[in-house]
């Protein structure tokens, strides 16, 4: 049995969130921003989903590097954090059927495809409100420039990495 290699990218930006749940929409918002910022850059690929589902493991396995983008409820509202993700962070209890976290997606890509990206980062923005409405809380609105700056730098660093691409 084979599996297709579609959409290989030097840098995969994988965002998650629901734009109808206020600050949960920050992932899709940042994905749209970075897609515009790197428009015409074939080495960058942006995927936005409401949830990260198991089939994304193939996209993760095929990417040189991944930047996961999501909101977080364990950070102060508006706090921006960029951290490395490792498969060792994968939690069994987080392995839900329909959606996974960043570490679990990485672990699944390793188990299924024996491949993980060379670098994996998770950019999160602390949520101030997850109410049923569009738009962002004041704290997240204020954090958007910082989140964009950190995301832009992360992608530029990945694209500037001169080491050869994985065969």
């Amino acid at each position: 049995m084979t599996h297709s290699i579609a959409g290989q990218a030097r840098c995969l930006i994988l965002a998650c969130g629901n734009t109808l749940r206020e600050d949960d929409g920050v992932g899709p918002w940042l994905a749209a921003w970075v897609e515009g910022r790197f428009a015409g850059e074939p080495r960058a690929r942006v995927l936005t989903r409401q949830q990260w589902t198991p089939e994304l493991a193939q996209d993760v396995a095929e990417a040189e590097s991944v930047v996961f983008v999501d909101c977080a409820t364990n950070l102060a509202a508006g706090e921006v954090r960029l951290a490395t993700v490792a498969t060792t962070n994968a939690s069994g209890s987080a392995l839900a059927t329909h959606h996974l976290g960043a570490a679990e997606l990485l672990a699944l890509s390793e188990e299924l495809y024996s491949a993980t990206p060379r670098s994996s980062l998770l950019l999160t923005v602390g949520a101030g409100s997850l109410e049923l409405r569009e738009g962002f809380s004041e704290a997240v609105k204020a954090a958007l420039p910082e989140a964009c700056a950190q995301l832009e730098k992360a992608v530029l660093d990945i694209l500037a990495d001169s080491s050869p691409q994985r065969a």
Partner: protein
């Protein structure tokens, strides 16, 4: 002392439900119920909307099988418009429906049920999930992911969105198929076929190990209903409904969407927001029936594609007459997938699939219309009434999960009675009871609705968990 075992939520399902198992003073099972505890009101809040908005509105009921709702809804609208859609538009919609069936069945079989089948129903629940499958048998996990992506990618190519595509409209589809997209889909066929063949071969290896479960997983005589073509081959998008009894004899045939509400009723039970569909001439519950993969294969005389026809022959050898155990929904689901892949290739081989005439247009020519299609988990029926301006006055949706509701409840009771004695049970036993429900692959989010009389149960529970008051409206 009597006791109630509650499984809440039932895991690895589409949506949220719970199971209660009621034991008598001797610790034996007296009754068991599968409760659908969420409620939605799509029929009600569609009132006043223009009828042509209905496909897009109704598709929002669910993220798993929105395509089936799109198609059943569009067909109901076409009945109001009194139009026949162009052949190519119909074939494109058929392909979209099959793609959705493939991705939904892949989710059910590989993500939701294969952990039980591969790792065992008694295995550690902490590893009984898709990651456990990936560790134990990565090629099976890759096959499941490959089939999910196959279906999702076709939906995205045709409808420009993976979920809730707006491409299906009353009268057909909004744009024809480009040759480049056809070729891209065709290129994916060999890999998809390899994946489903792997899954079928694996299923046949392990099925004999589940003989005890096959005996008690909703293994009883029942009626079955599904769409069928005039040549008695399986059908997902057009055709008419056939209802057969437990011996395989036809009870009713050629049921069109317009005739559906004349012969199918919906009963209400106080413990669930999902109704219980039944064939009116037989009454409730005698007229209850099963739908979905098992029903489709029990009804059809052929699949209409070579490889799936070979599998159907093997399936038919399981029993002399309809296959009754719901455990075989798993096998039937895989045969459905094989058929879907073959049929998509067959549809694309016809050059007329690139024809530009894909949509008919008309206004309101009737004040009532109904449409039906096969969703992955069974027959789906939409029925609308509009005013002279085409504004929605009334809607009713009869969902596959509602049509399987009686059988699911009977199946839960059968398994609970078999496994639970003297008030003793283990996690593995309760997982078996849950697994009965999983065989049906119910999708609970779209199965609940507020048309007509809706049951309601309110419980006042103390801080200690004691039920101190209960109000039931049935």
């Amino acid at each position: 002392m009597s006791q109630t075992i509650t499984i809440d939520p039932v895991t690895r399902l589409e949506g949220h439900g719970k199971i209660t198992i009621h034991l008598n003073d001797q610790g034996e099972v007296e009754n068991a119920n599968f409760h659908v505890t969420q409620v939605r009101g799509f029929e009600k809040f569609s009132e006043g909307r223009p009828f042509y908005e209905m496909p897009s509105l109704m598709a929002r009921i669910c993220g798993i099988c929105p395509v089936s709702h799109l198609i059943a809804s569009a067909k109901a609208c076409e009945a109001i418009m009194s139009v026949r859609i162009p052949h190519t538009g119909a074939q494109l919609r058929r392909m979209l429906n099959l793609a959705q069936m493939v991705q939904s069945h892949a989710l059910s079989f590989f993500y939701l049920s294969s952990p039980d089948l591969l790792l065992g129903l008694e295995s550690d629940p902490a590893t009984r999930h898709i990651f456990g499958v990936a560790q134990a048998k990565p090629e099976l996990g890759r096959a499941g992911i490959g089939l999910r992506r196959f279906g999702q990618h076709i939906i995205e190519l045709l409808g420009n969105k993976r979920i809730h595509p707006g491409w299906v409209v009353p009268g057909g589809v909004t744009e024809p198929l480009a040759a480049a997209k056809r070729d891209e889909i065709l290129k994916m066929i060999p890999e998809a076929q390899a994946n489903i063949k792997l899954a079928l071969a694996w299923y046949k290896q392990i099925a004999d190990g589940f003989k005890p479960e096959i005996e008690v997983f909703a293994n009883f005589a029942s009626n079955y209903m599904g769409l069928i073509n005039e040549d008695e081959s399986v059908e997902f998008t057009d055709g008419a409904l056939r209802l057969i009894d437990a011996k395989g004899e036809t009870i009713a045939d050629g049921i069109t969407a317009n005739q559906f509400s004349e012969v199918i009723g919906e009963a209400v039970e106080p413990y669930s927001y999902t109704k219980f569909a039944y064939y009116k001439p037989l009454g409730y519950p005698a007229g209850s029936y099963r739908v979905g993969p098992l029903a489709r294969l029990n009804i059809a005389k052929s699949m209409g594609t070579p490889l799936a026809d070979e599998e159907l022959k093997l399936f038919k050898q399981i029993a002399d007459g309809p296959v009754q155990s719901s455990f075989y929904y798993h096998y039937a689901r895989l045969i459905d997938i094989l058929y879907g892949i073959e049929k998509i290739e067959h549809i694309l081989a016809d050059p007329s699939i690139l024809d530009k005439h894909v949509r008919a247009t008309a206004g309101v020519n009737r004040l009532e219309g109904a449409g039906q299609a096969e969703a992955p988990r069974g027959t789906l029926h939409h029925h609308y009434k509009v005013d002279e301006n085409g504004l929605m006055k009334w809607a009713n949706l009869v969902i596959a999960t509602g049509q399987n509701n009686h059988a699911m409840n009977q199946g839960v009771l059968q398994a609970a009675k078999h496994y639970i004695h003297d008030g003793k049970f283990s996690e593995g036993i309760l997982n078996r009871v849950e697994a009965v429900v999983r065989t049906f692959d119910p999708c609970l989010s779209c199965s609940t609705h507020a048309f007509g009389k809706m049951p309601l149960e309110l419980k006042l529970v103390s801080a200690e968990g004691e039920v101190v008051d209960r109000l039931v409206r049935s």
